[in-house]
Symmetry: C2
Subunit: 187 residues, 2 copies
DNA sequence: ACCTGAACACCGTTCAAGT
DNA sequence: ACCTGAACACCGTTCAAGT
């Protein structure tokens, strides 16, 4: 009875992640339990612990994998405003593809920073291109990131009407332009 | 033994809310359990259900009570930019006083809209004063609200450096000014 | 009216035992 | 090496019984 209901087929990490994914996309992070996950795989709950440290490690790993799908667009020579909008859209599309997991990431910043490494470089590049002075580059980048990720979570939870993302981005770009102009005249 | 460990003193809703509050402020929403709450009140867990429908109703009510503490500043005749900043600060201070509960609210928009009724009127008033055309008043208000509440949650979870709130607000104000200017010239 | 204990259907996780 | 069952310490909630 050792092979049990799974007839000797060895359980793999990939299978586990895929099943966890399914559960989360269907019912949110709160629908994921180790026991349901095991049932989904027709396996004893305890077998999971041979492939995964624990539930939070599993969630963490899942978030990292989503993050890896993020491909920030390269510099195509277009104006910074367009590139910023394009970057925002990449971010947003991935979030909308996995809203439940994204909400989890937003509420667990230690995961967020590990997950979204690639975005920061792209954001910095675009802000420098826009003429943001280096001394507030980091602050501006953090502010924009907080605004945009907060907006996207709001979209996912229904706190904001659909199809307002471009307008929201336009507002930020307008603010950035004013900020840069002000920095230039005072220098 | 009916009076049990609480010696006949009748349990009140107020006591329950206060204790729940304490647990949440100490350890986050995830630290609140009906059983720990009962222990805190030296009462049988089941006694709580005589005063509260269930756990989510309790949380909901708690959120509404925090929201009621929000007093949007009245129109003092100062420029809209200052009034918008003042409004943001009121919102932010309350959120920082109860960060755990706020995170919960942000992730449960049905609670959010019930809780933050007073803010919307103030926001609408300020945006009209600023000259935002009525046809995008609602959209702009939603966008600003999503940005600001997202930023505040980011502050609470450590995703953004402290003392950047005024800078963040300035960015939004700059964007709004540009938006209004654009609307005026196109009209 | 208010409180209680026992019970049910869940959790995550540990540990000793099985193949 | 991989899997398992029994067990522990938790959850929220229902329900019949107590005062």
């Amino acid at each position: 009875m050792a092979a049990g209901p799974r007839r000797g087929v060895p359980l793999t990490r990939e299978e586990i992640y895929a099943a966890a994914w399914r559960l989360i996309d269907a019912g949110g992070v709160e629908a994921l339990s180790m026991r349901k996950l095991a049932a989904e795989l027709t396996v004893n709950p305890m077998s999971l612990y041979h492939h995964v440290e624990n539930k939070t490690a599993l969630l963490h790993e899942l978030c990292l994998r989503v993050g890896e799908q993020m491909a920030p667009p390269p510099d195509d020579g277009s104006p910074w405003q367009e590139q910023l909008l394009a970057l925002g859209r990449v971010y947003r599309e991935l979030a909308h593809a996995h809203p439940a997991l994204w909400r989890y990431v937003f509420n667990h910043p230690e995961v967020m920073s590990a997950q979204q490494g690639g975005l920061w470089e792209a954001l910095d590049r675009i802000l420098l291109l826009a003429g943001v002075p280096e001394h507030d580059l980091r602050t501006i980048a953090e502010i924009l990131s907080a605004f945009v990720s907060g907006f996207i979570v709001s979209e996912a939870t229904g706190g904001v009407r659909p199809d307002t993302f471009d307008q929201a981005t336009a507002l930020l770009i307008g603010g950035l332009e004013a900020h840069i102009r002000a920095g230039r005249t005072s220098a």
